[in-house]
C-alpha cells in the first residue's frame, strides 16, 4: 500500500518535510502508518501525544484501514483565528 504523507505546522518543522511517500505491506491501518512515520522521524515523537491524523482530508482513527493512493496528513494542534 502506497501512501502520500503530508506534514503541517510544527510537524513540518520537526521533520523538515512537507510531503513524502511511504509504503506498507499487506493490510495496513492508520496506526501502522503512524508507527512507521514516528520511527522514521524520531523528533516527531516530541509532539506525538498531541498529533491528529487525517485520511483524504477527514480526521481518522488509528484503526481505520488505508488503501493504495490515499493521503495521510499529520495534523498538530491547530491554531487558526
Amino acid at each position: 500500500v502506497k501512501l502520500k504523507v503530508l506534514f503541517f505546522g510544527p510537524a513540518r518543522i520537526l521533520t523538515h518535510e512537507s510531503e513524502i511517500e511511504v509504503e506498507l505491506s499487506g493490510e495496513a491501518t492508520v496506526q501502522d502508518a503512524v508507527d512507521l512515520i514516528l520511527n522514521r522521524y524520531s523528533k516527531l515523537k516530541e509532539i506525538s501525544n498531541s498529533l491528529r491524523y487525517a485520511l483524504d482530508e477527514e480526521y481518522a482513527e488509528g484503526a481505520m484501514q488505508i488503501h493504495d493512493g490515499q493521503t495521510l496528513a499529520v495534523i498538530p494542534p491547530v491554531q487558526g483565528g
Binding site: A54, E58, A73, V78
Partner: protein, 130 residues
C-alpha cells in the same frame, strides 16, 4: 443553510465587509481577529498562517453550516486569511446575520471555539529581528 460560507484567502481583509443581501435580520455581529504584536510573551512583527487548504475549506464549511443551523442564523460568512499578516491586520472575519442579537453573538463565539479545535490552520510568529 444556503447563506453560509467559509473560505480561505491570501487577500487583505482590511476593507470593511460588504453586507450580504439578506432580508429580515435585526442583528449583525461582525468579529475581526487581529494580529496583536505579541505571541507567548514575545514581541513579533507579524504572523505567517498556513493551512491544509482543501481540508480547512471542507471542515470550515461544515462547521459554519452546523453552527448556523444550531443557532437559527439567517446568514453567516467567515473568511480566514493566510500568508504573512502584519501586526494590526485582520486574520479572521466573521459576519453573522440573525433576527435577534443573542443568537448572532452565540453563533460567533461557538464558531470560533470550534475553529480553534478542528480547522487545520497554523500560525508561525515572525520576530521583529527576522
Amino acid at each position: 443553510m444556503k447563506n453560509s460560507e467559509f473560505r480561505i484567502t491570501t487577500d487583505s481583509l482590511e476593507k470593511p465587509a460588504a453586507h450580504l443581501p439578506i432580508e429580515g435580520y435585526g442583528a449583525l455581529v461582525e468579529f475581526l481577529g487581529v494580529v496583536r504584536g505579541e505571541e507567548e510573551g514575545k514581541v513579533i512583527s507579524a504572523l505567517r498562517y498556513e493551512a491544509y487548504g482543501e481540508m480547512a475549506a471542507k471542515v470550515g464549511q461544515k462547521l459554519v453550516e452546523e453552527v448556523a443551523s444550531k443557532h437559527d442564523i439567517l446568514a453567516m460568512e467567515v473568511i480566514h486569511r493566510i500568508g504573512e499578516i502584519k501586526n494590526g491586520e485582520t486574520s479572521l472575519r466573521i459576519c453573522v446575520y440573525s433576527k435577534h442579537r443573542k443568537a448572532a453573538f452565540a453563533a460567533c463565539t461557538d464558531f470560533i471555539d470550534r475553529l480553534k479545535q478542528d480547522v487545520p490552520i497554523w500560525k508561525h510568529p515572525i520576530s521583529k529581528s527576522s
